[in-house]
Symmetry: C2
Subunit: 242 residues, 2 copies
């Protein structure tokens, strides 16, 4: 029988994709429909009230708020959210340079009810970038390592095109073809892709390493508007004293 | 076992939600993974190239491009898309006043491979509004009849708050609780809801008819910027001579 992206979806998993339009960031809410334990990926300061309201309405118990990396384009809400939700823990890669309750590294698992996400380290956009993969490998939250038909830039923070190329090929393109790719950003209204699609159609990552490095060093992108405020803030979960 | 929204998803169904940021419109692509037959709901003129590229990359054979109603806030791409894809048919409600290849009414089915959507007429925002429901009732494309924690306005075209209230209660709130609600628009970065959630938390539709009518007649919204261009265009699939 044919294996569609939508068949891969996990039993008893509540899932919501949310968008913050100022920084074009996707926030992901995942919950266990039985225990109501939930986790939140890449929440944004501007949309904290929307996210808290949804978590409350759905009756979820938010255990962990995790950032895929130390963002340069928006401030995370994890720190402020901890002040609003008792017991909530913040999490980020131990190679991010940021402080958080949980410092993650390769192979670590984040549990919520019977579900979990596994950490795959994917340095290149930043040193502390990681991809979070569901236990059944049906969904990958790729942060800025792999975007839909694109990838994160490598010209600031600890950016390195070679590292990013290797991370994507070794840690993402080795996932099953039908694994859904949920990125941290999209600028064209695309909400999801699959590993198979990106392996075939990603205009950057389908190239050779040399061509990829050439592309990445000639993007000439403007500096992110919020970078000088966002990075220092995100090193401490968006707020001081958390 | 617990019944999550994600369990309801249908076997062998390819599904993509796409967003057009100028009018905050969601376009939906649904395909049969075996036969590759596909349909497109509410495509927008501005994003026609993105949509055509995705359809091509996914190897889909687009059979029908359908509008949930005659939109006032953007121009549909169904007419132009017909000129690009041989065999494509446009569809809209027979009560919309618009011309199209297929004029739909209550109970009609739109087939793509082994899948289909069933038409439920939901007048109120306009006379020709309809909701499209998957065969297994796991997903409802609600157009502007029901938005996430909101609903379409009733102060222009054939808008009627009483009709909208009855349509939502009789044709949408009678679907299963876990049925996913995919609206034509969202302005807050929300991508999906469920019938159960809207029945419980929709700030307008949970009220009495009298309160609802009062709310709807006091929204004081500005006239949509594109209405004078969009409505006449959408009466002919966005282009003349289709
Ligand atoms: Fe980033
Ligand atoms: Fe509308």
């Amino acid at each position: 029988r044919s294996y569609s992206s939508r068949m891969a979806l996990t039993d008893g998993l509540l899932f919501r994709q949310l968008f913050e339009s100022e920084s074009s960031t996707y926030t992901y809410l995942l919950g266990d429909t039985e225990t109501k334990e939930a986790i939140l990926i890449d929440p944004v300061l501007e949309t904290i009230e929307r996210d808290l309201k949804l978590i409350r309405e759905l009756g979820l118990n938010l255990k962990v708020a995790v950032n895929t990396h130390c963002h340069a384009d928006h401030i995370t809400s994890t720190g402020l959210m901890k002040k609003r939700l008792v017991g909530l823990k913040s999490a980020i890669s131990k190679f991010s340079g940021a402080s958080a309750d949980i410092l993650l590294s390769e192979g670590d698992k984040i549990y919520f009810g019977k579900h979990y996400l596994t950490v795959r380290e994917t340095p290149g956009h930043t040193d502390g970038c990681m991809v979070l993969v569901t236990g059944d490998q049906s969904m990958a939250f790729t942060g800025d390592a792999l975007l839909i038909r694109g990838c994160g830039r490598t010209d600031f923070q600890q950016g390195c095109a070679k590292k990013l190329y290797e991370s994507v090929h070794q840690k993402i393109f080795t996932l099953p073809d039908q694994c859904l790719v949920y990125p941290a950003h999209d600028y064209l209204g695309q909400t999801v892709s699959t590993v198979g699609e990106e392996r075939k159609f990603n205009p950057r990552l389908t190239k050779s390493l040399e061509e990829f490095e050439h592309i990445m060093s000639n993007l000439n992108l403007p500096k992110p508007k919020q970078i000088d405020i966002a990075v220092p803030a995100n090193l401490v979960c968006g707020v001081h004293n958390v």
